[in-house]
Symmetry: C2
Subunit: 100 residues, 2 copies
Amino acid sequence: MPTQPLSQKEIEDRLRELPGWSVGADRLTRTYRLGDHFAATALVVHVAQIQQELNHHSDLTLGYDTVALAVTTHSAGGITEKDFELADRVERIAPGHGAN
Amino acid sequence: MPTQPLSQKEIEDRLRELPGWSVGADRLTRTYRLGDHFAATALVVHVAQIQQELNHHSDLTLGYDTVALAVTTHSAGGITEKDFELADRVERIAPGHGAN
């Protein structure tokens, strides 16, 4: 059974628990600024490992000292529980944003 | 002295030596498909290290098994020698595209 997309209200309710995250074009987005290139590269690898564990992959863009995430569920055509699970996991490990 | 952007003709001449690369919106672009998520993540790290060595950073986007590069020189407002140097270095290390 494919995962169902969340309603706009469900998305807004969930976003309150994820300060710094936004919704746009059927994606949850956040850009982390890490302060240097090495830290940003390390975060990409860590997020890639989490994506592998969740079997849920979204585009990650590495800039000089930034990592931008655009999280969506292509197969559902929208934002699902899985997307919030990934965002929440990333939020917990991103440096300065909580404990690993 | 800031690096000068290359002319359209210079860019077209150089692109002949880089099959698979394209030019668009003042950027050299190429997407590599690696076949699995781990290989794509590894390529991001390798390219990040090359960018650090060249002190020339451009956006890298990691998809499930893809790495997309968009290479430009912001300070010059266009495509420069530095961009071709980075593209050439990446081309030589990308799996299936040559020897390291």
